[in-house]
């Protein structure tokens, strides 16, 4: 989405290769890079996942604690997603308040989980209007090489799926106390985001940083295991025709199922 000469040359090269039906790194247009997912590798988090998608490397930590509910949903727990672009992940990333990209990333993953009603929020209420579970999902980017939404969405699902949260006891007087027990978070579905990048008339999946840089736009489609769409997010200064949207949904639908079965298969 840049305009300088280096970037134009890069775009030209990438498009030439796409024209020939392949990618700079030899992948097909709809191929993902190799995905490695490791879960529950942290002891101080209720759940955790590490995802590598090519050189893109992210960690997700799930923490559950006590908090107060929102005023308009006094009986429901709270699920919050936060994303951090650590400065270690790219030479242009700097310490400081989250840039727009990190905010959008957190929001899209967050909406993908909530819309899909992945957790039964009422199960996470404890004392109406006073105490509920707060489940934090922290997306932590350690190396950036494109396609963060897909990597983080997958990591968030994997981390939640493996999470064990402390069991709290509620007394008759509505006093809440921690117990020694933990319980698995019960997931109601398994949403997977797939982001389709548009470069000229081509559509590709799992873009690298270089491909993202020259792309015209992208469309993220999150789908659950019943092939229901739970989130859409279009970005980039470009339009999509209705046919293109349909095509993207089809690509995403197929790919989401594939990745779900590969990367978050139940034990």
């Amino acid at each position: 989405m840049s305009n300088n000469i280096v970037s134009r040359l890069k775009r030209k090269k990438i498009e030439e290769v796409l024209e020939a039906g392949t990618r700079m790194d030899g992948r097909d247009l709809n191929d993902f890079r190799e995905i490695e997912v490791r879960t529950n590798f942290l002891e101080k988090s209720e759940g955790s996942a590490e995802v590598r998608m090519g050189k893109t490397h992210i960690v997700v930590g799930v923490k559950a604690g006590l908090g107060t509910p929102f005023d308009d949903t006094p009986d429901e727990g709270v699920l919050m997603c936060n994303a951090e672009y650590t400065p270690v992940a790219h030479q242009t990333w700097e310490p400081g308040p989250p840039p727009h990209g990190a905010i959008e990333l957190a929001r899209v993953v967050d909406r993908g989980l909530r819309s899909a009603e992945i957790l039964n929020m009422e199960d996470l209420g404890l004392v109406s209007g006073e105490k509920v579970y707060i489940v934090f999902v922290d997306l932590y980017v350690l190396n950036w090489d494109g396609n963060l939404i897909d990597a983080c969405g997958l990591g968030a699902l994997a981390a939640l799926k493996g999470a064990e949260i402390p069991v709290f006891k509620v007394s008759k007087k509505n006093e809440v106390s921690e117990t020694d027990k933990t319980q698995k978070l019960e997931l109601r579905c398994e949403p997977i985001p797939i982001t389709i990048y548009k470069i000229g008339k081509h559509f590709i999946l799992d873009a690298t940083a270089d491909e993202e840089e020259v792309a015209d736009g992208r469309l993220t489609v999150t789908l659950d295991e019943n092939n229901n769409v739970t989130t859409l997010q279009k970005a980039g200064p470009v339009g999509f025709t209705v046919d293109e949207i349909k095509k993207c949904i089809n690509i995403a639908s197929e790919k989401a199922a594939e990745i779900r079965s590969q990367a978050v298969a139940s034990e």
């Binding site: 005023d71 929001r107 789908l223 769409v229 997010q233 279009k234």
Partner: protein, 273 residues
Amino acid sequence: MSKSKTKAKTKTKRKSRKKKFERVDGRKADELRPVKIETGVIPNADGSAYIEMGRNKIIAGVYGPREMHPKRLSKPHRGVLRVRYHMAPFSVDPRRSPAPSRRDTEIGMVMTDALEPALFLERYPRSVIDVYVEIIQADGGTRCASVNAAAVALVDAGIPMKDLVASCAAGKMEDHIVLDLGDYEDKKGQADVPVAYMPKLEEVTLLQMDGILTTDETVEAVELAIEGCKQVYEVQREALKKKYGMDEEDTAEDAEESEESGEEPAESEEEDK
């Protein structure tokens, strides 16, 4: 953890109500809330528009193209579009803090991407066009209403456009795909699909969705939303005609031609950082 049962029961109830489906405000499934647009409402701005769409009351103002501050954010070969979406503290209930939320930031981003495809930014190197949107009162669909006001404000500012951008959401409610959910409906809505559309270029420039829809329903909702956009487009044109005594067609330029002429010769290129 037995509360989930209650919820399941509610859902069954909802479905049983399906036959006698009707909307709170009596609208048909494919009917917009009332839309009213007025231009030139902010004397100081280069262009402005006020929209009422349902109970939304929103003002959009445009400043620019103008010099960009801070300069390091400008681009040597093209202009930059910046859209700020901001809600007045009293626009919602309960009152909200005037500090921008993450949601505000995200909406500003998708609005920028919704409007930029209609502009010739390559004509304004080193410059910025600022679009400021103030939500005076929020109903369902503030982002769509904001896009509608912003697009008209851009025309009001005399900024040439490839096409207008019209915006409207479709959603699912009580298992029906319906147009333009108000916030009473939003609460029992099952999905919301805001769309922005360039009617002449036939391209979707904003597309988001939250909820649960089959892939077919998703496409159905997008298509219904586009129908809504086309209706909104007529209201936008009326508002502009009223002010300028002419159709917006005359101000909009032919996209392809302009894009060509706006192209920089390769020699003059420098890095933009």
